[in-house]
Amino acid sequence: MKLNKDIELLDGMPIAFIKSLDALVIADSHLGYEGVMAKQGMLIPKVNLKKLIASLSDAIKMTKASKIIVNGDIKNEFSKVDQEEFNELYDFVKFVKEKGLELILIKGNHDNFVERYKEPFKLQVYRQEALLGKYLFFHGEELPREIATAEMLIMGHEHPAIGVYNEAGRKIKLRCFLYGEYEGKPLLVVPAINYFAGGTEINIEPKDGLLSPVLKSSDLGKMHAIALGYGSTVDFGTIAKLREAAHR
């Protein structure tokens, strides 16, 4: 689905394609997640990286993009790079390089030590935010700074989703992009690409339960939820309306 002239939200995928940058945008891949969980006694088989690579391969084929922008939290663990994570990070970077793409990382709150690998992996890492073309990319755990020069803001972090009830009263959870405004500038929130991230149901969760200060201080009700699932991407209308529907 086309968001505007320059941005396309790839059908059924948590991936945005920006024409003017020739880049795919994803967020919150949380690589190494299963390995970290296994250390806590949760033996979740590894699928995240496989699924990530599969959807990116599709996206690359469809768009012929030359760049991948990871808008924060490429890996899972906060404090250190775990062995499992390192292996997955390595495989991921290898995949991107083999496809001949440029990898651009915006650091998220889970990415503290990624910089150590900047050199060996030849990564392009931005600390807090990055103004690429007319877009300001930032992860979203903190408020963005250089708003004035940007035409549009793009963030991740929140793992947005919506909860929709069917006629039989069963709740269905769908990952979604959020599209609205922050400080007078258009804002796009990208859903998590991590296979396991169900997401926060923005229309059900009270506002103070949200993660990002950006969303807490913006007019959430007016934002559109552009949900994905079953191979397509559809605008479900405003959060205000969806909130009403869930409580009816």
């Binding site: 006694g41 033996l43 979740i44 088989p45 699928v47 009830y165 009263g169 396991f196 149901e201 059900i204």
Partner: protein, 891 residues
Amino acid sequence: MIEYATKPFSDDVSIGVLNKYVGGWFKKNFNELTPPQQYAFKLISDNRNVLITAPTGSGKTISAFLSIISKLFDYSLQGELENKVYCIYISPLRALNNDIYRNLLQPLDAIYDMIRKDKGVEVIKKNIRNVTIGVRTGDTSQKERHEQLVRPPNILVTTPESLAIMLNSQKFVENLNDVKYVVIDEIHELANNKRGVHLSVSIERLTDIIGKDFVRIGMGATLYPLEEAAKFLVGYNGAEPRDCTIVDASWSKQLDIKALSPVKDMINTDDEAIERAMYKELNSIIKKSKTTLVFTNTRSGTERVVFNLKRRFKYDEEDIAAHHGSLSRESRLEVEDMLKKGSLKCAVSSTSLELGIDIGTIDNVIQLGSPKSVTRAVQRIGRSGHSFRSVAKGEVIVLNRDDLIECSIMLDSMIKRVLDSFVVPKNPLDVLSQHIVGMSFTKKWDVDEAYALIKNVYAYHELDRADFISVLNYLAGNYVGLESRHVYGKIWYDEKENAFGKRGMYTKVIYMLNLGTIPDEVAVNVIMTGTNRWIGNIEEEFLTHMKPGDVFTLGGRLYKFEYAKGMKCYVTDAHASSPTIPPWFSEQLPLSFELANAIGAFRREFGLLVASHIKKNKVKRIAKAGKIPKELDEYLGKLPVDKKSREAILGYFLEQYLFAGVAPNDRLILVEQIESGGDPELRSIVFHALFGRRINDALSRLFAIELGEMLDHDIGIMVNDNGFVLSIPKGEKLTNKMLGDIIDDLTSGDITNMLRLNIRGTELMKRRFRHVAARSFMILKNYKGWKISVGRQQVNSQLLLKAAESIDPNFSVIKETYREIFNDVMDMPRTKEVLSKIKSGELIYQLINTQVPSPFAQMMITFGQADAIMMKERRKYLQYLHNLVLKKING
């Protein structure tokens, strides 16, 4: 061979098998042998495997133990009694273990006393020692455990879980080398669930570890079929089942039972009056008896009854007490103690007092509302009467008409000694996973040897080798890449070598800390939105049924469900007048299939009589005065019910026939499409399918899937024991043609696959998957000293399910989840049976259209289950519906 003991041995023969001190002790303390003892003393002394079923108070424990004790004293008298375990006693309840310990300690001491007096100094010279007994459960202290290791008790009293742990404690296992007897108590609480399967594998492993067989003794209250229980007890030795003799003394107590309606007209009497009448009835029985035991069907019901009895009749703490699973262990023990002392006038319980814990003499049992199964009713009422000579006395108080019929037929079945059957869960792969991990610690196993051992267990006798191998592959971590197997693998498995064994240092700790089959229960916290004020807890399953806007009661107040996050449920005060979800929804047990059928048969037989009575006498109206025509009264008179109840049953049937001209029964499924009533936007279709909830759960989903596809609309489902209700949009209508098509589809299609797709992603699936994954050690409840909260387990299990499904939909953990849902939660085998009967025409269906719900549909329309004690708002609506019907009949 499994056989029944048919002729009791004479008292002389029975006493004759005991040594003279043990026999002497028995004669000194008892005047006669009870029925189970007349068989068991001799059979056990002949080293036969025996299954004993007998009611409470029939000397069951002594019947099983006396020959064993006699044998052990024989050893002692020869100076050959060593510090070894000769007998293992296993019960599912720690409380029961403590009872057995106390109850055996006393005769052991008395018998040893007799020997000492008789033998004098020889006792020391010949090293004649007392037989020792010890308890080993999760409560046993480290010090006691150590002492048991050094000086093991001759009779070891334990639980299934502790036994499993013992098998992997290398030092302790040496003490078990001479085990001669294994006694399993309360077998009816084990044979039908995974905990019992787990135990039976442990016992099979024990025979393997010590390299010889032992005498197996099972004890239990009533259960049916007994052959199945016997097979569960003894298992197989290769292709043949081991021998077992069944001692069936289940019916050695006489029954004095009756169903009572507190009021004549259960529809038009107001709540207050019904409640008043019920408590009056209850109180009059309590007053007449010395000690009364009252059973409700829910924990909350238990609390309400205690509260009301105290408030209405000024009983205090010393007179009446509640006993249920949510109470602390201390308060339960206190109540049991008061019962034993005989100081308590009345105890009220949900299920916890059903088991054989020693509670002294009860002279009357009252059941409020239907206990949903004949076996359960027998067990509960069997708690009354202190000896096998006394009569078990019980009353069932019913508060609505469906309940009345259900309970009348239940009691009738009891008198006719027709019980509902239980089923041993077959081939549960999660329990198998646990034991394979346990087995891997003891030695390197040849796969075929291990497979043969497992197949000796009755529950696994038909286990597919492919399933066995898939469990090995799962446990070996073969579903992840080689480099991660050190994290995921719990055993090593070499396909070429056809062998498996232990892997990793930490696996044993994981095994010991996570063993067992009982899932962690989750209490969901209910919190007031905005204030963070904690209101109380609800069960997780209850939460899965709610959607925002639903109203439910908690602690006597109404709350509106807003949203849930993790294990927290956020609510606001509700300004509605009635709940939209009944509070007992997840608590009540499903109606048994046999009982459902018996009710269906009654509906048919009595229905015929009523229909011909209507025709013959040109009955057009419901008469006010309760005179019952002779031939009808003759039929009803055979049921153990009072007169008020007979009138109510007749009235109910008359209304149904006058209104609808037809009533559903065991050969006719009535499909009733209702024009008005209820939600203005929805049309209700009531399927009068009296099969019990386990079957209706599956059937309703199947019909809803089909109907949903036809109408291209989601269908609302409400399930109950007597049938199910589907809601379709008002604009739509179910036609005969559609119904026929649906049934054609269902009787020819792959319904298992349809249901698999339907269940995938539901809360039911997620929840059951968590249980199975935890039992399979895929999610650890306890890891490296950390207790992992259930909420966290649940969150993780959802991720796990997602991942496992993407690897292989036949992954053993997923496969077992579906097996559990289809066979333990629902009843797919019988669902298929029902469908094939519809196909063959043995079971017919008929579609009728009604203006308002017919009398038989009303209880279903106003919510599934009937909680006898809390039904205020429901009753108002019911009265309204009932008046609509009467208006139609009487004009």
